[in-house]
């Protein structure tokens, strides 16, 4: 089985988000970039499914050369090889189009993405890729099992889950629950340096959306403290002042 894991390079989760140039640019000064946490879970599941000679795992990223440390991390965790499409990831449509192009030229049985990237949170790439390839896409997946040529997945829905069967090939956007995060071991880190990382050029495609500016949430006023033994007071404030209960 050939598995493709789509990986994105995102600001570390502890990053304090600020902007420059009149709030039009994300301020990357001092920001550490990491492998998107959900993509890391997708990768961990892909490795589990391929272990014991059952398959191969390729990771792909649409990004500029600065994303290579993140790609090497994925190789250290256990991917067999990597591809970087050398371009700025303008929007989800652009990214999914490049991914589709690659999959059309290199067939895969299973394509995994994260449920969303933690920077733009679009949850868009999986569905767009599925549509470009005219194959099923399912997100947000919490469980992914394979029996022969059919997969069984659990999709999250409001207040519950759906159990779905689905034939290959398909695209799955995965979330926590699918696997545990894997920490690269020393051997993985050493071998990552020599595993193949192919760089290819992007195909021209329209950009349909563009971020033109950013805003940070309005700061809250000073917290109003209520004495611990006067819970009734809090309820009263929430009712008559905040008007939320």
């Amino acid at each position: 089985m050939k598995i493709l894991v789509c990986i994105s390079n995102v600001p570390d989760t502890t990053t304090k988000i600020t902007f420059t140039d009149n709030n039009t640019q994300f301020n990357t000064a001092g920001v550490q970039f990491i492998l998107n946490p959900y993509d890391e879970i997708a990768l961990a599941r892909a490795i589990e499914l391929s272990e014991g000679g059952k398959g191969t795992v390729t990771v792909i990223n649409i990004g500029e050369i600065s994303t290579e440390p993140t790609i090497r991390k994925a190789l250290a965790i256990g991917a067999d090889d990597a591809v970087r499409v050398n371009a700025k990831p303008h929007d989800a449509y652009f990214v999914a189009f490049q991914l589709a192009q690659y999959v059309k030229e290199n067939a895969f049985d299973l394509i995994l993405t994260g449920r969303e990237s933690i920077d733009y949170n679009g949850s868009k790439v999986a569905g767009m890729l599925g549509e470009f390839l005219d194959i099923p896409s399912i997100s947000i997946i919490k469980k992914l099992d394979i029996n022969g040529d059919i997969a069984t997945v659990e999709r999250e829905i409001e207040g519950g889950k759906e159990v779905i069967t689905i034939p290959f090939p398909f695209v799955a956007g995965v979330a926590e629950g699918v696997a545990e995060w894997k920490i690269p071991n020393m051997r993985g880190i050493m071998s990552a340096r020599t595993k193949p990382l192919k760089v290819i050029e992007a195909v021209a495609v329209k950009t349909l959306s563009e971020v033109i500016s950013y805003e940070t949430p309005a700061p809250r006023g000073q917290v109003k403290l209520v004495p611990a033994d006067d819970a009734a007071k809090l309820i009263e404030l929430l009712h008559s002042e905040a008007k939320v209960i």
């Binding site: 449509y93 949170n121 959306s209």
Partner: protein, 325 residues
């Protein structure tokens, strides 16, 4: 040109978030001096469908065949696309629900449309451009996205637009299109839904607890408080990692991002990754025994105290409040 809104049902019923979506889509139609058509897929009663007129739908299309009983995003996206073609709709609006997130990107590709996911306010069309504000960086910021395509797809974050009713019942029209077999490869085998609980993503009130609760056996009082308030329960990441609560309750940067009217955080320190997922809540209440807990810096109301003493008192106070209301 018109606006098409997809109205997602849960077990044949529409939730409040769908009335928000219809109200929101109506406002976009009004911005553009055009009508609003709703499309429902699956099995929903005619009363429930006609009722959408109250929130602004001028007409409701009903695609309801056996094959369409369960949600398959590939097939539903095709139907919404066909409906858009038939009605000449160039703006598609839907909820940024779990299903909406599977649909919006597929519709976007079919229509070669820019997709604004997780919109939090009405589009701005005043400067000749079309921009939409959406959450970004897991709630740590907002991004204003310009859609520069002819067609547009917008998904609305639950709890970010008010329900506006007042209209009359809408006329219904049966909508049938030929379906593609290849759209139905994914087969829903089972749907497991806790119907007695408020679902977290669209809850108006959330009661959330963290490691300060010490262990899963102490969640009884958290659930009791939530039940009394008609709230959903949530938790911090270490709590779901430890298996005290299910992953579906974990909020934050790597969990669910929520924007309820009221978020009550008990025994949660307020780490930046947790705050990311809840900072667009309208009112935040923090209960923590440590006065220095970072969560107090972003709270509107707070109690410095021991959760094991404060929660039972809150439960009493809510009971009394309800009795006197």
């Amino acid at each position: 040109m018109s606006v098409l809104v997809y109205v997602e049902n849960a077990d044949g019923k529409f939730k409040k978030s769908i009335f928000e979506v219809v109200s929101y889509a109506k406002a976009i139609a009004t911005q553009n001096n055009t009508g609003l058509i709703a499309i429902s897929i699956g099995t929903v009663s005619t009363d429930e469908l006609a009722n959408l007129g109250k929130y602004g739908a001028d007409k409701v299309l009903n695609a309801s065949t056996d094959q369409l009983k369960t949600f398959v995003n590939q097939a539903y996206a095709s139907i919404i696309f066909e409906a858009a073609k038939k009605e000449g709709a160039n703006i598609i609006v839907l909820s940024n629900s779990f299903s909406g997130r599977g649909l919006a990107p597929r519709i976007g590709v079919k229509m070669e449309a820019g997709v604004a996911d997780g919109a939090v306010s009405l589009p701005n069309q005043t400067a000749g451009s079309f921009t939409v504000k959406k959450t970004a960086f897991s709630g740590k910021a907002f991004a204003v996205v310009e859609l520069n395509s002819e067609n547009k797809v917008i998904s609305l974050t639950p709890n970010s637009y008010k329900v506006i009713d007042g209209g009359a019942n809408a006329p219904l029209e049966t909508f049938t299109v030929e379906t593609k077999e290849s759209d139905f490869k994914a087969i829903v085998k089972d749907i497991i839904r806790a119907t007695d609980k408020v679902s977290l993503p669209d809850a108006e009130i959330v009661v959330s607890a963290g490691r300060g609760l010490k262990g899963p056996e102490n969640w009884g009082m958290v659930e009791e408080l939530a039940n009394l308030l008609g709230a959903a329960t949530a938790c911090s990441k270490p709590v779901s990692d430890a298996g005290w609560r299910p992953h579906s309750e974990h909020v934050g940067q790597t969990g669910i991002v929520v924007s309820p009217n009221l978020y009550i955080a008990i025994g949660i320190s307020g780490a930046i990754q947790h705050l990311a997922g809840i900072s667009s809540s309208k009112v935040i209440v923090v209960i923590n025994k440590d006065p220095e807990a970072p969560f107090f810096k972003v709270a509107d109301y707070g109690i410095v105290g021991d959760a094991f003493e404060v929660i039972p008192k809150l439960i009493e106070a809510v009971k009394q409040h309800k009795a006197s209301a």
